[in-house]
């Protein structure tokens, strides 16, 4: 059945969503941090304790978890029976971002041109990825993503003969090379397949999975465990100061690809893995 949703409803929901996600660490992330903290000693243990304490202060006092309140990424599942009354979905979401970052004292981290670098002063434009699905609801997931961990991410077009071992080397090299600067313990999103444009999206979307969740494909579920174990042998540790917890999780997303290609992308997420989903 068709449903009409006013664009203000979407903007207001997004405004609240941006603030909530920046103040409250998701429960699965906090649980994983606490569990891994038990294994650590010395400086590493102190860092884990600071991270847990920070989450408590941020939630109680409504202070952003991190000063980098991020690029505003939205993953939208748009019901095919929804009609928006007012502006389009992109404008509605951007209005919510603009209002929220101004009204809630979140940091504006977007420059209008990559060379000229003038701040847009309201953290827009957001990155908005839309999937059209059945039904008459809109589900919006917000992933504010810091610049430090984003800078540690990478993408490569491998040849099919590289196979799993080529993928594994590429992921481990990416973490080895820049992981220490990306605020570990990390969450690693891996995209495999698709094409140049889609593989980066897949790696990013993988970061939306809850820590502890299993990949629905048993082959890739095993590969996630294998990569996590290898990454945690690198002794990068919390904030790069050594230790057995360099990553909390590895999530793999796969997609069909061309007979000539094996695209792979690694999107690195810092420990302040902020994400929240709402349904309208």
């Amino acid at each position: 059945m068709k449903r009409i949703i006013k664009s203000e409803i979407i903007s207001n929901a997004v405004e609240k969503l941006c603030a909530d996600a920046n103040y409250v660490l998701p429960s699965d992330v906090l649980k994983s941090l606490k569990e891994n903290s038990e294994k650590e000693t010395g400086s590493s243990k102190e860092i884990f304790d600071e991270i847990v304490k920070n989450a408590e202060i941020a939630e109680t006092e409504k202070i952003p978890l991190c000063q980098d309140t991020g690029t505003a990424n939205f993953f939208v599942k748009f019901g095919k029976d929804v009609v928006i009354d007012g502006s389009n979905i992109y404008d509605a979401v951007n209005k919510g971002v603009s209002e929220s970052y101004k009204n809630n004292y979140l940091r504006k981290s977007i420059v209008s041109d990559p060379i000229e670098r003038k701040n847009t002063d309201d953290n827009t434009p957001a990155n908005i990825y839309i999937d059209v699905v059945d039904g008459n609801n809109i589900e919006i997931t917000f992933l504010p993503k810091g610049g430090g961990s984003e800078n540690a991410s990478s993408l490569k077009m491998l040849e099919p003969s590289a196979g799993w071992s080529g993928i594994k080397s590429f992921v481990l090299d990416a973490v080895k090379e820049k992981g220490a600067n990306a605020c570990p313990p990390l969450i690693i999103g891996v995209g495999i397949g698709g094409d140049f444009a889609s593989v980066g999206y897949m790696a990013k979307e993988a970061l939306l999975r809850e820590i502890g969740s299993q990949n629905s494909n048993p082959y890739y579920s095993d590969k996630e465990k294998e990569l996590l174990a290898e990454i945690n042998k690198l002794n990068i540790g919390a904030m790069g100061l050594g230790g057995s917890t360099t990553a909390l999780a590895v999530f793999i997303n796969v997609k069909p690809c061309h007979i000539a290609s094996l695209p792979v992308a690694v999107n690195i997420q810092c420990h302040s893995c902020r994400r929240k989903t709402i349904k309208i």
Binding site: I63, P64, C66, Q67, L234
Partner: protein, 179 residues
């Protein structure tokens, strides 16, 4: 530990040592560094006295009404590596940020008898509690990248590169290679 004690060399810091730092620091990140270095090249005058200063790589969130500062954790220091030797040659003594520095920066720290300290990234709400005052000094048009003068009290840090050039990140890297 007070910044003055470190600058006057009355305390010797060692890489790997955890400290609680108090005193005056100035925020400056990417765009502010670029402007400072440009000003030094063009006229030699900059918005604050670089000699014996402490710089914090940080772009805070705006303060809510009635608050001193917003969330204020460190940003990745490595992006400042290209500017840092020049800043150290101008007399900056303490660098605060997060993550690994280049060999060039490490050599310059040793040459200038400076020190690099790492704060924990992503604990910006916790670190905001150590800031006792915050004043806009320059580059207000840069928004979060403006220069703020902060008075801090007991900010938890780890000495990452000491004045002898000992680098905690390099030590961890070497341990990995040795297995």
């Amino acid at each position: 530990m007070n910044i003055q004690e470190i600058i006057s060399d009355t305390v010797k810091l060692k890489a790997g040592q955890r400290i609680l730092l108090s005193g005056t620091i100035y925020t400056a990140r990417d765009a502010a560094h670029e402007r400072i270095v440009k000003m030094l090249d063009e006229c030699g005058k900059v918005p604050f006295e670089l000699k014996n200063s402490a710089i914090y790589y940080c772009g805070p969130t705006p303060a809510k009404p009635g608050e001193i500062i917003g969330a204020c954790g460190p940003t990745t220091s490595a992006r400042m590596d290209v500017f840092t030797p020049k800043m150290l040659d101008e007399g900056v003594k303490i660098l605060i940020g997060k993550g690994v520095r280049s060999k060039n920066v490490c050599d310059s720290i040793k040459k200038n008898k400076a020190v690099y300290m790492a704060a924990t990234g992503g604990v910006a709400a916790l670190l905001s509690k150590t800031v006792k005052s915050c004043e806009l000094i320059a580059f207000g048009d840069l928004g979060p990248e403006a220069i703020y003068k902060l008075e801090i009290e007991n900010m938890p840090l780890i000495v990452a590169i000491d004045s002898e050039g000992n680098d905690i990140f390099k030590k961890i890297e070497d341990e990995k290679v040795r297995g």
